[in-house]
């Protein structure tokens, strides 16, 4: 027997109690249920807000970041007064203000192979609101190994995807994506940008699916992938089937315990400095400034997209967007010294790899990108 609702709860949830598919019994179920939200950023924000408002009795939040002002364009869980605070703390106070009757458990740590099973085991449903491939594969494998549903969403610019990966009933994330793309092929939102409201659309779909799973109502996205494009305002669905060769949920699984997901995705570990191509290939902003002042002839190649130049640019730079670099190698001279740069050093590190593999040797990566130049050399430039 689930506990009865108090008078206050009956009033708070009255709009749910009026829906026959939810009703008093459904609301009791929600209050007795639990969801782990991994990531409290763009997707995690609407997910956690709506689950708290709906009266999901116990919500876990995993994040290790602090709130930054560049988060606020889309991460509606946090506010300006929260900048500089831990995201999980900022999130908890907002959720408890929205609904003080629920329990909010916080995990101020990265979700890793070492802690994931322990954190996840006591939750009914996991929601994937992470922003990187290693944590997405980890979340999937945790769900498969623990037999829990993984409510998936991901976003880029104007495009969103959502599904429910639940190996007990259908395919898992690895059935669709057996392996990650090569590092750097698919830019992150920090590099490529995202329309602020996009995670709102996808996150509320994830929250909807989580509530349906907890209530046991409707048809979920198990076996279907939703593809949303905000620019064209299209919603499309494709069918997903279980992959008989799936390494984690197939009949002969190779993955029977959690693995090293950074290695699996070919990305450097968490202690790797983002925006660095490795010591011997990096040049710092002050170093580059000094060499230019000394009159050295260095070609500055900007590998960003054309529209980013109106935000900030370096004197004398030449633009060759990363996507065009492979087909414009003939414009470069391997005898001449070059420095590649982008916003923060991620794309230019990738560009550097491409040039080095094409035989270029006199090439460097501006460590930390034009944002580092703005911080360390020319404070008149904005940081974005």
């Amino acid at each position: 027997m689930l506990p009865d609702l108090s008078r206050d709860e009956i009033l708070r949830y009255s709009r749910h109690l009026l829906i026959p598919e939810v009703g008093l019994e459904g609301q009791k179920k929600l209050l007795a249920s639990s969801v782990l939200v991994i990531g409290t950023g763009g997707l995690g924000s609407p997910v956690a807000l709506y689950l708290a408002a709906a009266g999901v009795g116990r919500i876990g939040l995993v994040d290790f970041d602090v709130v930054e002002s560049s988060n606020l364009q889309r991460q509606v869980l946090h506010g300006t007064s929260g900048v500089g605070k831990l995201k999980v703390e900022s999130a908890r106070s907002r959720l408890l203000d929205l609904n003080p009757e629920i329990q909010v458990e916080i995990f101020n740590e990265p979700f890793t192979s070492a802690n994931a099973m322990q954190i996840a085991k006591d939750y009914d449903v996991l929601v994937d609101g992470t922003d990187n491939f290693p944590t997405r594969y980890l979340t999937n494998d945790v769900c498969v190994l623990l037999g829990k549903p993984n409510v998936y969403g991901s976003i880029y610019r104007f495009d969103g995807q959502a599904s429910v990966f639940y190996a007990k009933q259908g395919p898992c994330y690895r059935c669709l994506f057996p392996e990650p793309p090569p590092p750097g092929l698919v830019p992150s939102c920090a590099e490529g940008g995202v329309l602020g409201v996009l995670p709102g659309t996808i996150g509320t779909i994830q929250a909807t699916e989580a509530l349906k799973l907890l209530l046991g109502i409707g048809s979920t996205l198990v076996g279907r992938l939703l593809l949303y494009n905000a620019l064209d305002m299209t919603f499309e669905f494709v069918k997903l089937k279980k992959n008989p060769n799936c390494k984690v949920c197939g009949p002969n699984p190779e993955v029977t315990e959690l693995i090293d997901y950074d290695a699996f995705c070919g990305v450097p570990g968490r202690d790797h400095e983002e925006g660095s191509a490795g010591m011997e290939w990096d040049i710092t902003a002050p170093e580059l400034a000094a060499r230019i002042r000394n009159g050295e002839k260095i070609r500055l190649i900007d590998v960003r997209e054309p529209h980013e130049r109106s935000i900030s640019s370096l004197p004398g730079e030449e633009l060759i967007p990363l996507g065009q670099l492979a087909s414009r190698l003939h414009e470069l001279n391997s005898a001449q010294e070059m420095v590649l740069f982008c916003k923060s050093g991620v794309r230019s590190s990738r560009a550097l790899e491409l040039l080095v593999s094409a035989g270029f040797k006199r090439v460097k990566n501006l460590k930390g990108g034009i944002n580092a130049w703005a911080r360390e050399v020319d404070p008149s430039l904005p940081i974005y």
């Binding site: 994937d128 991901s154 995807q161 669709l176 698919v186 494709v238 069918k239 996507g323």
Partner: protein, 90 residues
């Protein structure tokens, strides 16, 4: 002729186009014609043996070509292939 829809993250490799016309009567031929038109895509979509990498998910009429006849799946005149990328943003 058949077409392929290019997802936003890969559009910088195809001059920003959202849809590209393809030649060929099978998925394999059509993908080859895509990579001939845009050579920079080849290293992204194929491995060192020239095979499409497993993260490249192609869908035809709502179905994954893996669940049809794979790369040998025949294409009709007005078919549209969907290339569904792994996207990690959140």
């Amino acid at each position: 002729m058949p077409t392929i829809r290019i997802p936003t993250p890969l559009r910088s490799y195809v001059d920003g186009q959202s849809e590209v016309a393809l030649q060929g009567s099978t998925v394999a031929d059509a993908m080859e014609s895509l990579m001939l038109q845009f050579p920079a895509l080849r290293s992204q979509l194929t491995n060192s043996q020239g095979e499409l990498r497993p993260f490249v998910n192609l869908f035809l009429r709502e179905n994954n070509i893996r669940d049809m006849q794979g790369l040998a799946t025949p294409l009709e005149e007005n078919d549209q292939l969907l290339l569904i990328p792994s996207v990690a943003g959140g």
